[in-house]
């Protein structure tokens, strides 16, 4: 990263050959402790089994799901019985008046701006709160932080009324705006905390050189925060992608995303859970791809990745 040099210059962040060997030793250490490894494996398994169960369930015929546990498939499959079927996926994908592709498209169109807009806004605001010492900044920041607790549900009617008055109800714009508003408190709060961890000396050095806040923001802070941004972007992506409430209230037939479709799969009277298991996995595919492709940012660490190289 281009900022590594600056980071190296900062006295708080020592970086030397010794660190690297220290890390290597630590790595060996962690692995050599059998208890630690066992515990990690146990947690990983506990966290995975329920999902695996649902995945297997989604491939089983309706009657089997009801009559035996999903773990029995291993025995039956071993005995050579046909235990899997694609019927649930077929129903989820094709049994409906609207092509599933339409819902996928809507999910994308809803999600991308709803991730991009609040993050950009929050980034600016977080910088303002963290590094521009203006009067009332502390108070405003605490207020924004406290807004996290406002339940989305109480805002639905006032917001929707406002959209109706503006004549923009039922368009994508209302959904983007709503998601942006709801994401802001947490986004500002988290990004502010990351920004605060940037060594003060870095920012001050740049200010000494005569850089204005806009320059500091773009040249010093933004590059350092890239991994944190990527991480938060993933969270926001997951939240928006999985959102049902906003999509239902603010949207209409032409904007409904995948979650709306999946929610319908359970049928008018709430039966058909077998189809729902397939639907759940269809809607998980994209978040999983996004997560896996951006995962390196998580593994590397949010700030650590850039400040320490």
């Amino acid at each position: 990263m281009s900022t590594v040099k600056t980071a190296d210059a900062a006295p708080e962040v020592p970086r030397s050959k010794a660190d690297i060997s220290g890390r290597a030793r630590k790595a060996r250490k962690a692995l050599s402790n059998p208890w630690a490894s066992t515990l990690a494996v146990v947690i990983a398994i506990l966290w995975t089994i329920p999902t695996v169960g649902l995945l297997i369930t989604s491939f089983r015929p309706e009657l089997d799901i009801r009559q035996s546990g999903w773990w029995t498939v291993f025995g039956s499959a071993f005995a050579g019985e046909g235990v899997f079927s694609l019927q649930n996926y077929e129903t989820a994908l094709f049994d409906g008046s609207t092509n599933l592709i339409v819902f996928f498209v809507n999910s994308f169109v809803v999600t991308l701006p709803a991730v991009f807009i609040p993050i950009t806004l929050a980034l600016l605001a977080a910088y303002g709160f963290a590094w521009v010492d203006f009067k009332g900044a502390d108070f405003l920041f605490i207020a924004v932080f406290a807004l996290q607790i406002v339940p989305i549900q109480i805002t639905l009617v006032p917001l929707l009324s406002a959209y109706v008055d503006l004549g923009i109800n039922g368009s994508f714009w209302t959904i983007w705006l709503s998601h942006s508003i709801f994401a802001l408190p947490l986004a500002i709060f988290l990004l502010h905390n990351f920004m605060k961890e940037i060594p003060r000396s870095l920012v001050e050095a740049a200010r000494m050189d005569g850089a204005g806040h806009v320059q500091v923001f773009f040249r010093v802070v933004l590059p350092l925060l890239t991994p944190a941004l990527a991480a938060f972007a993933i969270f926001q992506f997951l939240w928006v992608w999985n959102d049902l409430l906003v999509a239902l209230v603010m949207g209409d037939l032409n904007t409904f995303p995948l979650t709306v479709r999946v929610a319908e799969l359970a049928g008018s009277r709430g039966g058909d859970w077998h189809v729902l298991s397939a639907g759940a996995f269809i809607s998980m595919i994209v978040p999983l791809i996004v997560f896996l492709s951006l995962q390196r940012y998580f593994v590397r660490g949010l700030l650590a990745g850039s400040v320490k190289g």
Partner: protein, 464 residues
């Protein structure tokens, strides 16, 4: 009249001639399972008498939005039934079904963004929309004329709030049914009971043969955030039988308190079956498993032979797993839940209602269509797999898809039938969709007595 069943939920070829009108249904049978075609959607075409809608003027190119709780797969037959109207008038119907509709509709109404028409799953919601938001428009005269012609006065009453008629009934459900396996009964030599005493005798006889998880009855009231409603139906059915229709009316209008001795009595009578571990819960567990068993699966133990009887509404027909034959000689069928004597026929019913929030000509025209016998017949024709009936007297019963639907239609049309609407749908929301549901679930899950539960529900009755 020929009815040829294709695979469940898929299109069917059907040609029919009604008595009062001609229905020509062109259809293509889609018998393979691989395709992703609409069910009834484009397959069925019916022609109706278009003259009824001419007085609304030229509607070509206009649109009407409909908001309902009816989602796939039932949504397909619903939209298919709108086709004749769309063909007649050139109106496009924008159909939106959501399971969250009951919560979302008031939000949209308050925000000034209501749909043109909402299909309200219960009269309680209509009352809320009228009383709290003053949002529903009174029904136009054509609709009222249709309802006066096709529906019994009680049904019109359910769509009326404070003397103003708002909402025409759409479909009807018959809830007083007991599902059973005809072959199991035959093998054991059991007769379908015709009085309550016979029912209890039969139950006792079956219980003598209890083995393992097998019990005479099975039940389940879990239904997401509507958990409890199948239990309230049970109680309502018993109130109709032990206390009679008059007390029933006083009960839901709160002329007698909820914990009136006659009601407590009905709870106890229902409890003789539902709280008796020797009688329930076949294949599902003990008494408390009624509280957690999903209502959609609660009758399935009949198929495994673990359960003999399951009280559930006519629409339970569509809940049986794919491949289950619903017929008098099939895998499962239902008998009328008997009353004290074989001559009485108190029947618990329910249905949906059509509320309109705008009064553009195309909306009123569509409202008129939905309240007509034409629609009922088009819906019957568009529902090849069955599971739908209407108490509209103009419904041609021959068009109904299954023997069972015809049985329901007969019960609805029978002069001996004393129909009463689902009481929980008529009680104030704080009781009907809250404390009654919770109370009954609690009644199964814990050892609360009938008196304690009814006291608690009475306490929650809104004071004004």
């Amino acid at each position: 009249m020929t009815i040829r069943m294709a695979s469940k939920r898929r299109a069917v070829a059907l040609a029919a001639t009604g008595a009062s009108l001609a229905l020509v249904l062109a259809a293509c049978a889609d018998t393979d399972d691989g395709g992703g075609e609409d069910g009834g959607g484009e397959a069925t075409q019916a022609t109706i008498d278009c003259a009824a809608y001419e007085e609304f003027g030229d509607l070509e190119g206009t649109e009407v939005s409909v908001y309902t709780t009816i989602v796939e797969p039932e949504a397909e037959t619903q939209t298919a039934s709108y086709k004749p109207f769309e063909d007649c008038t050139g109106v496009t119907i924008n159909y939106e079904g959501s399971r969250e509709m009951e919560a979302q509709l008031p939000v949209r109404v308050q925000a000034g963004n209501p749909p043109d028409i909402a299909i309200l799953p219960q009269p309680g919601l209509l009352q809320t929309l009228v009383n709290d938001y003053d949002a529903v428009l009174p029904a136009p005269e054509q609709v009222e004329a249709n309802v006066d012609e096709g529906w019994a006065p009680e049904w019109k009453e359910y769509g009326t709030v404070d003397g103003t008629f708002y909402a025409a009934p759409l479909g009807s459900n018959v809830k007083s049914y007991v599902w059973y396996s005809p072959s199991m009964f035959e093998e054991a030599g059991y007769e379908v009971p015709t009085t309550w005493d016979e029912l209890m005798e039969l139950t006792a006889t079956i219980a003598e043969g209890n083995e393992g998880a097998t019990r005479p009855w099975c039940a389940g009231v879990e239904s997401g955030d509507a958990t409890g409603w199948p239990g309230t139906d049970w109680i309502e059915d018993v109130v109709l039988r032990t206390a009679g229709p008059d007390v029933y009316d006083q009960w839901y209008t709160h002329e007698i308190p909820f914990n009136d001795p006659q009601i407590v009595d009905a709870f106890d009578t229902a409890g003789e079956i539902l709280k008796n571990p020797d009688y329930v819960n076949g294949g599902l567990g003990g008494v408390d498993s009624i509280a957690t068993a999903t209502w959609t699966d609660a009758g399935y133990p009949i198929l495994d032979g673990n359960c003999w009887m399951h009280r559930a509404a006519n629409f339970y027909q569509t809940q049986w797993p794919e491949g289950t034959e619903v017929a008098p000689d099939g895998d499962v069928y239902a008998f009328y839940l008997p009353a004290q004597t074989a001559d009485e026929k108190p029947t618990l019913v329910a249905g949906e209602f059509i509320g309109a929030f705008t009064d553009r000509p195309e909306v009123q025209a569509f409202q008129t269509y939905l309240s007509s016998a034409d629609w009922a017949n088009a819906k019957a024709a568009a529902t090849p797999a069955g599971g739908w009936v209407s108490a509209n007297s103009g419904l041609d019963q021959e068009l109904l898809a299954t023997d069972f639907d015809r049985l329901s239609a007969e019960i609805l049309a029978d002069p001996a039938t004393v129909a009463r609407f689902d009481a929980s749908d008529l009680m104030p929301a704080a009781v009907g969709t809250d404390s009654f549901w919770n109370g009954i679930t609690e009644w199964f899950a814990s050892d609360l007595s009938s008196q304690q539960v009814t006291d608690r529900i009475e306490d929650s009755w809104p004071s004004n």
